[in-house]
């Protein structure tokens, strides 16, 4: 870790930029992790059960999938601020608060994607597994296994959204140097300070991260294309 920090410290001239990379990685990792658990669980649950109001829930989720992060950031801020219902957590201007806002943004995306994939695949898997005499637990495990590529793809999409998000983390985190400043908010700050060089370097790292994530997603999509022969 220190080795990487020394490399980046030599590379960037503005202070706090290396910290913004650290904050971005920590925030994106935890928000994607929590959103994945929630999104996959609720996505599969929505596919599995039919109940009154299911269509409304799906529609609300789809709306949230495309909601502006800055609006979510504002709502999260109102919930977390001192006078808000979750003010006791003391998460305003902390990484936890940023993770909280991002979970609200990313969970519907992962949930919606997993649900869309599951309604296409799960019924066939369920019928097949039943015809083979599988137990309920074995059927559910098989659905997860058969959907693994789609689930990975949903997680990667969530992570991409997390690392590139600005609005909500700006509102909740407050863009505090070395504490809640992420790569995206750092770029914005560097631009205001006229430090274009560091901003561009940071942008390149961000693009590189997005490229790696996208390459992984493409690899998974290639397997899906292979399936189309079937």
């Amino acid at each position: 870790m220190e080795f990487f920090e020394s490399i980046f410290s030599d590379f960037f001239h503005s202070s706090g930029v290396v910290d913004s990379i650290r904050v971005t990685v920590i925030m994106s990792f935890f928000s994607t992790l929590i959103s994945s658990v929630l999104g996959i669980f609720f996505g599969l649950l929505l596919e599995h059960f039919n109940f009154k109001g299911k269509n409304i829930i799906i529609r609300i989720n789809r709306t949230l999938m495309g909601s502006p992060p800055v609006v979510i950031g504002l709502v999260a801020y109102m919930l977390l601020r001192g006078k808000g219902p979750l003010g006791f957590l003391g998460w305003v201007f902390t990484i936890q608060g940023m993770v909280f806002a991002q979970v609200i943004i990313i969970t519907p995306i992962i949930c919606g994607m997993v649900y869309s994939y599951a309604i296409r695949t799960a019924p066939a898997v369920r019928s097949f597994a039943k015809s083979m005499g599988a137990s309920k637990m074995q059927i559910n495990l098989l659905i997860l296994k058969e959907l693994k590529n789609e689930i990975y793809f949903s997680i990667l999409t969530g992570f991409s959204r997390s690392i590139s998000e600005v609005g909500a983390v700006f509102l909740i985190g407050g863009n505090i140097k070395s504490s809640t400043r992420t790569m995206t908010t750092a770029i914005s700050t560097l631009k205001n300070a006229g430090e274009f060089k560091d901003g561009i370097y940071l942008g390149i790292i961000l693009m590189l991260m997005a490229f790696i994530v996208q390459s992984l997603a493409d690899y998974l999509r290639k397997e899906d294309e292979y399936d189309e022969n079937y």
């Binding site: 066939a124 898997v125 019928s127 097949f128 597994a129 039943k130 015809s131 083979m132 005499g133 599988a134 137990s135 074995q138 098989l142 296994k145 058969e146 693994k148 590529n149 397997e223 292979y226 399936d227 022969n229 079937y230």
Partner: protein, 237 residues
């Protein structure tokens, strides 16, 4: 296995079976025009679909003794081998490699054992699905149009495999098909469904060659297989 007063409403269609019996150790043919409820009945037997009312007496059998293969089988995102042994895996049975290889060899899939199953041709996928249903030795196998996509040689191979199995270790087969030559060759008993009802059940010869019901008669006369051809095959049998 005995089905009594089974009802299942699906939109405008209603499957309404008063009584149908699948005697053990026999090959049963389930025939009838498209939309007559054959596949729906099969799905209800395998518990893929719930029935609205009625009862199915499975006797001493449990759901895990019954399996079904369909025209478009579901193959796991895995190799041919892992697809084949899936029913054994969920039963925690260690696969006998020589038995697995023999089954694969019989239908020409041995050299594709480690291949991604979904890359197989549709005919090969059906072959794989058929032997996958056989591998865990179920007591009832339902074949829903599985042999339809196969070339004549492969279809004959599977017909022979069914007959061979019946000779050595008989189980109950329910085969759904529009190919009356196939039905005539392998079935002991035939059940004719029309518009959701079982309108005639009986020995294969009786239903196919001497139908008593007017709808069955009409169906037989409209099929491309002539009675004389059935009769010819029957004599060969």
């Amino acid at each position: 296995m005995k089905i009594t007063n089974l009802k299942k409403q699906l939109g405008d269609f209603c499957l309404d079976i008063d009584n149908i019996e699948f005697e053990p150790g026999m090959v049963h043919g389930l025939i009838g025009p498209n939309g007559s409820g054959k596949s729906t009945l099969a799905k209800i037997i395998v518990d893929m679909m719930p029935m609205d009312s009625g009862s199915i007496d499975y006797g001493t059998l449990s759901q895990s003794d019954i399996t079904m293969t369909s025209q478009k089988p579901y193959l796991l995102h895995d190799t041919v081998y892992n697809n084949l042994i899936y029913p054994l895996k969920i039963r925690k049975i260690k696969p006998q490699e020589n038995e697995v290889d023999a089954l694969l060899d019989k239908c020409g899939l041995l050299d594709k054992k480690k291949q991604y199953a979904r890359s197989l041709s549709s005919g090969e996928q059906q072959k794989l699905s058929f032997i996958r249903a056989l591998i865990f030795k179920p007591k009832i196998i339902i074949i829903d149009e599985t042999l339809s996509n196969l070339d004549p040689d492969s279809a004959e191979l599977f017909e022979d495999m069914i007959l061979e199995k019946q000779f050595s270790n008989p189980i109950t087969w329910i085969t759904i098909s529009h190919q009356l030559v196939h039905i005539n060759k392998i079935c002991d008993k035939v059940h004719f469904l029309s518009n959701g009802k079982n309108i005639q059940s009986g020995k294969a010869n009786d239903v196919l060659l001497n139908p008593t019901n007017q709808i069955v008669k009409q169906y037989m006369s409209s099929t491309e297989i002539s009675f004389s051809m059935l009769d010819f095959n029957n004599k060969e049998k």
